[in-house]
Amino acid sequence: MKLIAAMSGGVDSAVAAARAVDAGHEVTGVHLALSANPAKYRSGARGCCTIEDSHDARRAADVIGIPFYIWDMAEEFHDGVVEDFLSEYAAGRTPNPCLRCNEKIKFAAVLDRARAMGFDGVVTGHYARTQMSDLGKTLHRALDHLKDQSYVLSVLTVDQISGAIFPLGDTTKVDIRAEARARGLALAQKPDSHDICFVPSGDNAGWLRERLGSDVGPILDQNGVKIGEHKGAYTYTIGQRKGLGLTIPTPDGSPRFVLKIEPVTNTVVVGARKDLAITTMRGERAIWCGPSVDEKSRTGFVQIRAHGTALPCRYFFENNLLVAILEAPLLGLATGQAMVIYDGDRVVGSATICETQ
């Protein structure tokens, strides 16, 4: 097949591209320029998006022996990912930008352009697997569950999955580094990226404050009594305990947690740990990674964080919402996050959490 390998300049995408070449594919490397004003050098745990990273990607492509191009996707990234991140926070939700980037950029803008140019698909260094079965080509967890990235890929439609190639799904990160070394790729020792790539300082709250302003607002207890002030509701997340700056203790001395964020009134509501507990979540904008889910209740797992635990649940699709009912209560769930449904290690689909109870 003729494939585009998305190369961030990191070790994973470089080895993925090399493996695609070994598998006999005709591969062209592409680095996505996602910032209109990229920084010159890497800092901290950022793993992509600097000029240094694009040089690393180019060098890897040269070592592998494939053509290399840089595609300017800064506008698409800004509109589809950065703006979405800001507006979600402004609405009191906690978005996952990596998921949005996969949905809008890597497997939409890039895959669409690649296909129009005569390519068959896009190779990335994500830790996930695809499988062919009666259900068609389906998305699965990586064998290395610690590194598994199927969560952030759960926004891919069946058509997008059909054009996605993940050569790293059966390997551990340690082995990938060793393989990169053996292949003579100088980026073998490059650190993993953790932070949000477009927040160079790693200070998300500060970054948000700069863009959304920092209107002081009340922190209320569950009875509506003001017990403190916050510096911008969007810098809090549901379930957060630290950094609330409250000086009035609870009667029994137990800690308080963020229960609710109300962006319209700029209010943060706090309460006891037990009040965080939820058993039902509903999600909008459902995407199916295989056969679609209907109103029939099925058992499976739901995961609500990129590297969170898979929680046993019943799930079904009702009134245009994906519903998951947990076997055991869960503490602290922010709306805006993705709920991803698994059937064993197969990704069934995902939705953006809009309601919990």
């Binding site: 062209t28 000029i51 053509p67 352009r113």
Partner: protein, 380 residues
């Protein structure tokens, strides 16, 4: 698959004789500045080369200052002439809006570090500088102008500029011209042009990389950028690159068949006009270098076209600069009146001494399909 190289304006294959002469000199021992027999021998060969190059360029041997690149020569000329004039308080630097970055960037540096005022000369839709604008400027602010630098021919479009006219309008104001693309491609004589300074580079004419020259009138004194042994007229220091200089001169004296290259280019243009009628040849109505064709393909993106051409093993370019690896809209095309969109839908094809009619036809056998796919992929 045969690979086709249509990027001769970026760099072009070394002329066989130049490669031989250079290799031979690289095997000879001796620093040309040394007084012993080894040094004298190298010096003899080097100065022979300088004399031959001077003759070819219509200048005196002492007016040839060898540098390590065209960029270096441009920097020496623009900064040097500015500093020299600065003693009398002149702060205005006039350049065209279509200069290469090797002039644009030193000019901007002079503005940010040396209090220069930069005035950009506009161009008409065919990419030729506005002489009336220059006349008015010289008439009103001539006494403030430290230096005028206008390229001899543009690297992206090949459009030749009326440097003789510029010199006439400039009067006593020093004029520099970046003739990197012009040398050997169109008649070029330093003395006939009457400029104060002129830049040329070896690797654009079949000489080696890493050697260029600034031709500077013998009576003009300018401060230097590189201080040291003072080898080149006390203006440029550094051990003289004898193999490079000899390779450069040999290439300069080799035959370059302008008519053949021009015929190829015209054949290519006719094919494009016939097969891709909506394509627009930039600067078509102007006098141009024989080897460069700049084409706008509406509805496409240059970066996509480059990838698709590369896939066919065809090397061409946009001719414009990259910013962080991302193709910027060409400032040259923008100056000619293009929009951001059309400027980013353009490719430069440049022919050279080794180009053939067969290559030209092979490119045309795939280009219409590449443009069609490029258009389909432009789904922004």
């Amino acid at each position: 698959m045969t690979s086709i190289y249509l990027d001769h304006a970026a760099t072009t294959p070394m002329v066989e004789s130049a490669l031989r002469a250079m290799t031979e000199q690289a095997n000879a021992l001796g620093n040309p500045s040394s007084l012993h027999s080894h040094g004298r021998s190298t010096r003899k060969s080097l100065e022979d080369a300088r004399e031959r190059l001077a003759k070819e360029l219509g200048c005196l041997p002492s007016e040839v200052i060898f540098t390590a690149s065209g960029t270096e020569a441009n920097n020496i000329a623009l900064k040097g002439l500015y500093w020299a004039a600065g003693e009398s308080g002149k702060k205005v630097v006039v350049i065209s809006s279509i200069e290469h970055h090797a002039i644009l960037d030193p000019a901007n540096w002079l503005a940010s570090h040396e209090q220069a005022e930069i005035i950009l000369l506009p161009v008409n839709p065919n990419g030729v500088i506005d002489l009336e604008f220059l006349s008015d400027l010289v008439a009103t602010r001539g006494r403030e102008i430290a230096v005028i630098s206008i390229m001899h021919a543009n690297n992206e479009t090949g459009v030749i500029q009326p440097i003789g006219e510029v010199v006439r309008i400039a009067g006593q104001i020093p004029v520099h011209t970046d003739a990197v693309q012009s040398f050997k491609k169109t008649p070029l004589s330093f003395s006939h042009l009457g400029v104060t300074a002129m830049t040329i580079s070896a690797h654009k004419i079949g000489g080696p990389l890493g050697i260029g020259a600034l031709i500077l009138k013998r009576t003009v004194e300018i401060p230097s950028l590189l201080h040291g042994g003072g080898q080149e007229r006390e203006i440029r220091s550094g051990t003289m690159n004898a193999p490079g200089i000899i390779g450069f001169t040999t290439a300069a004296l080799a035959t370059y068949n302008v008519d053949e290259v021009r015929a190829l280019r015209d054949r290519f243009i006719s094919s494009i006009q016939e097969m891709i009628p909506e394509a627009r040849i930039n600067g078509l109505a102007a006098s141009r270098l024989p080897g460069i064709v700049n084409v706008t393909f509406p509805g496409t993106q240059s970066e996509t076209l480059l990838l698709l051409m590369d896939e066919q093993n065809i090397s061409c370019s946009t001719g414009s600069a990259c910013s962080a690896g991302v193709h910027e809209a060409s400032h040259v095309l923008l100056a000619m009146g293009h929009s951001q969109t059309t400027a980013q839908s353009s490719l430069r094809f440049s022919f050279g001494a080794t180009s053939t009619a067969q290559e030209c036809d092979l490119v045309m056998s795939v280009l219409p399909d590449v443009i069609a796919r490029g258009r389909a992929a432009n789904i922004r």
